[in-house]
Symmetry: C2
Subunit: 222 residues, 2 copies
């Protein structure tokens, strides 16, 4: 891409055992295409980190303590309460990194981690549609929108919403033209075969099926 | 998810140095949620495989020769001609695996690998919008659609189109209800901030910007 769009941007994506791959990879695919951007995958320990279903490992290049002061931090979600809060070292790092970040962001239940770290108290935020009440219990003001900005805190709805968040983001950081160019580069002209991606549009029996199958809901007894 | 949806399905995703992460992870995130599905990441050698921008490694769990006879094979794309054809061991494996697969699929320029393996001769197929002429030169009949079925060969357009392909696919294999449940589970209710995901809808100067920046176009002198 043209040099005129070059902005040096350090982006840290935090991985932890049981994260959901698309939560991290959607935004990575968009943000890594900004000229001057460097995305680094981090974890408590560097090395392979296993996803929620156990079928894949992504490699964390650096330990959290080597993260420096990234401009953007991104926390993906993962199923279940225990995993979602990701442990004290992650919470502590998120709190610390947020002090110097330009943007602190999450996808899906990554917002529960931000909330557990104390960053969303009284702030407008979103999460996976099944986790909105939990988000409220953790002190945030849940908003059923795809991407929610509250100052420098930016949260996206479930899993695939990270792509929309990242594009929205690039437009704010670097302008509409670059965001459109990245959208065209990844040919993001979505044509889902059904209108079932939100509990507002999916057939009622599909909503019930997903709700019943959710380990999150079972853990809460909700 | 309910046992009634359980169908044993072995899915092999082939990684190679320089692949595009979202091409692989979009479909993985959908297909891995089918009850009874097992997604395995493969490569010439097991171990970490680096993506196109050098910022991330995914771990290939098995060598291609250990792949067995997967029901579904999926080939992601990657930038540039050399990478796109991924080398003879990949081409050979794709040819071999296609003999016993139920579905042979690709995302983005992964279709150039299928074509280079000789699997798309005279068949309707799609690819990244910048690679359609190359697809034709490799013997396929390029079709500018998001997801193209030709018998058991299924190809998706650029990068993000793999999500739509996988959902379309799940509906065919396991029915609309399960596909809708997975769509709702990943909250795939896309709201791109711009209507710029296709060369048909993006502003002309954005199309030119992306075309000019493409290593694929530069390599072809097109």
């Amino acid at each position: 891409m043209n040099d005129q769009y070059e902005i040096k941007t350090e982006i840290a994506i935090v991985l932890y055992e049981g994260f959901t791959a698309l939560d991290a990879i959607g935004p990575y695919e968009v943000l890594s295409r900004m000229p001057g951007a460097r995305v680094t995958f981090m974890a408590v320990k560097p090395g392979p980190v296993r996803t929620d279903n156990g079928m894949l490992e992504l490699v964390a290049e650096r330990a959290l303590e080597q993260a420096g002061e990234p401009d953007i931090i991104l926390v993906p979600g993962g199923p279940g309460d225990v995993v979602a809060r990701a442990g004290e070292p992650v919470l502590e790092w998120v709190r610390e990194a947020d002090r110097t970040s330009t943007w602190t962001t999450s996808v899906c239940t990554g917002s529960l981690i931000l909330a557990a770290a104390g960053l969303l108290d009284g702030r407008r935020a979103t999460s996976h549609w099944l986790a909105m009440e939990e988000l409220r219990r953790l002190g945030a003001e849940p908003v059923s929108e795809r991407v929610v900005f509250d100052g420098k805190l930016v949260t996206a709805a479930g899993v695939s919403a990270g792509i929309d968040m990242a594009l929205t983001f690039v437009a704010r950081i670097a302008g509409d033209t670059l965001a459109q160019a990245i959208q065209l580069g990844i040919e993001y002209d979505p044509q889902p075969p059904f209108d079932a991606g939100s509990p507002r549009t999916a057939p009622a029996q599909v909503v019930e099926l997903v709700r019943a199958a959710s380990p999150r809901v079972q853990a809460q007894g909700a």
